[in-house]
């Protein structure tokens, strides 16, 4: 199964659910398990929410979500053209958040890393952030080695 999709949305919080459902429906073509689909949904929700809250700091900007399926391998990319991330290493640390006053938990990147096979982040202050995540379905029996 080889396929691709691209979705462009304004950074409104109502679109977080829409974006994750679209990617989950796209990924469903590769016949993932319910758990795998939930992993994808959760990871996409984290990245899109970050674009809304941090990237655009609740101003409205454009978020582009694209995905490709190559056999059982899903690659999904979430792009914003917002404020970017100054210190990526710090940002990815579990429990680190730059907005504790907004009830953020700082667990977004940790969840993306745990629920997907890989999570790469490219960011430039003032330009924006690109998060690319990969998950290959059908590896549930692999022990976590």
């Amino acid at each position: 199964m080889n396929n691709y999709m691209k979705l462009e949305i304004p950074s409104k919080s109502q679109n977080e659910a829409f974006a994750r459902v679209v990617v989950a429906a796209f990924a469903a073509q590769a016949d993932p398990t319910i758990d795998e689909i939930s992993d994808v949904k959760t990871a996409v929700s984290e990245a899109v929410t970050n674009a809304v809250i941090h990237g655009y700091e609740n101003k409205t900007g454009t978020i582009v979500i694209s995905a490709t399926l190559t056999g059982a391998r899903l690659e999904v990319t979430i792009v914003d053209y917002g404020v970017g991330i100054e210190d990526l290493e710090q940002a990815r640390k579990p429990l680190y958040t730059s907005k504790p006053e907004l009830d953020r938990s700082g667990m977004g990147f940790t969840i993306m890393e745990n629920f997907m096979d890989s999570c790469d982040v490219i960011s430039e202050p003032g330009k924006g952030t690109t998060v690319t995540m990969v998950k290959t379905f059908g590896r549930a029996d692999d022990t976590e080695a």
């Binding site: 919080s13 109502q14 977080e16 659910a17 758990d35 939930s38 949904k41 959760t42 929700s45 984290e46 929410t49 809304v52 809250i53 579990p94 429990l95 958040t97 907004l102 009830d103 953020r104 938990s105 700082g106 667990m107 977004g108 940790t110 969840i111 745990n114």
Partner: protein
């Protein structure tokens, strides 16, 4: 997300239905905090029976309420967590702050 509130003794029971994401967390926060301000509530019990999705915004919402009730020496409890939610709770260290029960009844009797 829909929410139903119930009060038993000094415990506010928050029954949630739907997807607990950033959008829903803001809605829940303002509804819960309005109740916390106005009444003789010490503890909060979150019932996750109807929650079919949660991401880290849910964790942040719960931690925020934990901070508020802790000021009055109150507790936060949770019940009816699916294995997936349990995993997210564990990952984020929530289990050191809040006690998880199988059911609402267990939570209220402290079983």
């Amino acid at each position: 997300m829909e929410v139903k509130f119930k009060k038993t003794g000094s415990t506010l029971i928050v029954k949630m239905f739907g997807e607990l994401d950033h959008h829903a967390a803001g809605f829940l926060r303002s509804n819960i905090d309005a109740k916390l301000n106005r009444s003789d509530i010490n503890d909060i019990l979150f019932d996750f029976q109807g929650v079919n999705f949660m991401d880290s915004s849910g964790i942040g919402m719960i931690l925020g309420r934990y901070k508020i009730v802790s000021l009055k020496n109150g507790k936060v409890l949770a019940c009816n967590l699916s294995p997936r939610l349990m995993r997210i709770f564990e990952m984020s260290g929530l289990l050191t702050k809040i006690t998880v029960y199988n059911s609402e009844r267990d939570a209220l009797t402290g079983a």
